[in-house]
Subunit: 291 residues, 2 copies
């Protein structure tokens, strides 16, 4: 599919892409580049990449496709380092959970003749690092692509085919809209989960040990979400500030209403609210992609 | 183990107990009693009980063990109806997610010679009704028993053995303490999940359909929790008001701090919070019971 593909940042997502490129032979040459030398050693050990390097600028030389799979807050510094070495006709893509900010970070550094195709595979686990990646991670999962008005259609097609070869299903979306939708479906739930587990973390030691011991459905699920990579999520919140604060405000209003209903003993209100949410669950389990 | 066991309220929990009583022969006679005639018809169809009745008072006659598996808000009305028909030496137990309120609702109606052994199996799914129960529901799950100071030790032992025969692991706890611990591990997470899915439910239709389409890890988990039985959960919040409002207040304070950190762009604060919560996850996955 490509002569040379370079993946920068080999965490859960980057290493899962690398595994797919090798398995499905999506590139003649796969370069895996990470500034962390320990990660590079791990990559050599796992045989993830024909060339493994901690020199990002060197890693992108002659690459047809460069994928930035680094935390959202690291995009600009990576773009700055690699941009001078990108060949004419190269495609730069990424896997960031936020799109407007990532585009703003990368775009200014790219010279004419290099195409930017922002992408976001909606897939992940609570584990991180190159050893946690796996082949099937993207299977039947959405990959949202948010092209700019000036992005070459052929570049978008190539990136789409690349993700489809890994089992993903493509959806094209406006970057701003992506950030709002994901703010609700992913960023807010993560913030809430981190908060509630943090609230438990601050309890006195005796209650905390019981909370752990009797963690029921509910809290247990929240702790899984709250075990996600802290650097990645810090960057998501810093880079999707507006959308997150907007949905958080709506959530806060709704939570205040719930609180008031509990305090007043308004069972009718609570029942209505609890009954309504079942419809969304039903619609979600009927989905074929991303389940 | 018992001559005659009567289960009142045959939803997910009650019908799972019934399945276990029959499979493990925990009683010579199993009576399943539910005021809902449709449920009774279903019970006959599923062959869940030697005697199926919608007359609760009749159902408890001569029973050695009576288990109230009805929503927490229905305990008092059931206790009132059955109390005159309970035999001397009978044990009354329950499966409510709240303990202080349930004890207050049942205790005043029981005459001398009837033992109350409040219990709470920490097990469940998002499904409800007699057809959703299954044999393995309680396996390796906690069953918390919250005896009163006056409860006969032998009655507590009998109820413990009953639950152990279904695969549960027993923990004895003070009722007040139970309500606080479960307020954190179960009630607050459910309230939050219901709220966030409700927030999504109120979005404009076009965004809502995309939220459903791209529901990522996080929101998807929340919708599962928010699909739980609305009557049961309404009653939990109305009957564990104080503990829930207390933990909710702590949660609100922590969420405000997160919100402020996002607004101010305080990455250091966010990272510290997100990193800390991993320890709790680690402790939870190392637990052997309830996983």
């Amino acid at each position: 599919m490509f002569e040379k593909v370079t993946i920068i940042g080999l965490g859960l997502i980057g290493s899962s892409i690398a595994r797919n490129v090798l398995k499905h032979k999506l590139a003649k040459t796969l370069v895996t580049a990470d500034i962390n030398k320990d990660v590079c050693e791990k990559l050599v050990e796992l045989e993830l990449g024909h060339i493994v390097t901690d020199d990002l600028a060197l890693g992108v030389e002659d690459a047809d496709l460069v994928i930035l799979a680094v935390p959202v807050g690291a995009m600009e510094s990576v773009a700055k380092v690699i941009a001078p070495n990108l060949k004419q006709g190269a495609i730069v893509s990424d896997t960031g959970s936020v799109k407007v900010s990532v585009i703003e970070q990368i775009k200014p550094y790219l010279h004419k003749g290099v195409e930017l195709v922002p992408a976001h595979p909606i897939a992940g686990t609570e584990f991180s690092g190159p050893e946690s990646g796996f082949i099937e991670l993207f299977e039947k999962k959405w990959c949202i692509i948010t092209p700019l008005p000036e992005t070459d259609v052929r570049a978008v097609e190539k990136v789409s085919e690349f993700w489809e070869a890994m089992g993903a299903v493509i959806n094209i979306m406006d970057p701003q809209h992506h950030d709002l939708v994901l703010g609700i479906t992913s960023h807010l739930p993560h913030l809430i989960a981190y908060t509630i587990v943090g609230t438990a973390e601050e309890l006195s030691d005796d209650i905390k040990s019981e909370v752990i011991q009797f963690s029921a459905s509910g809290f247990r699920d929240f702790t899984r979400i709250a075990a996600s990579d802290p650097t990645m999520w810090r960057d998501v919140f810093l880079n999707n500030k507006d959308a997150v604060l907007e949905v958080l405000q709506r959530f806060n209003e709704d939570l205040s209403a719930m609180q008031k209903a509990i305090r007043k003993g308004d069972g009718e209100y609570l029942y209505q609210r609890f009954d309504k949410t079942r419809a969304i669950r039903k619609a979600i389990i009927e989905q074929k992609v991303g389940s």
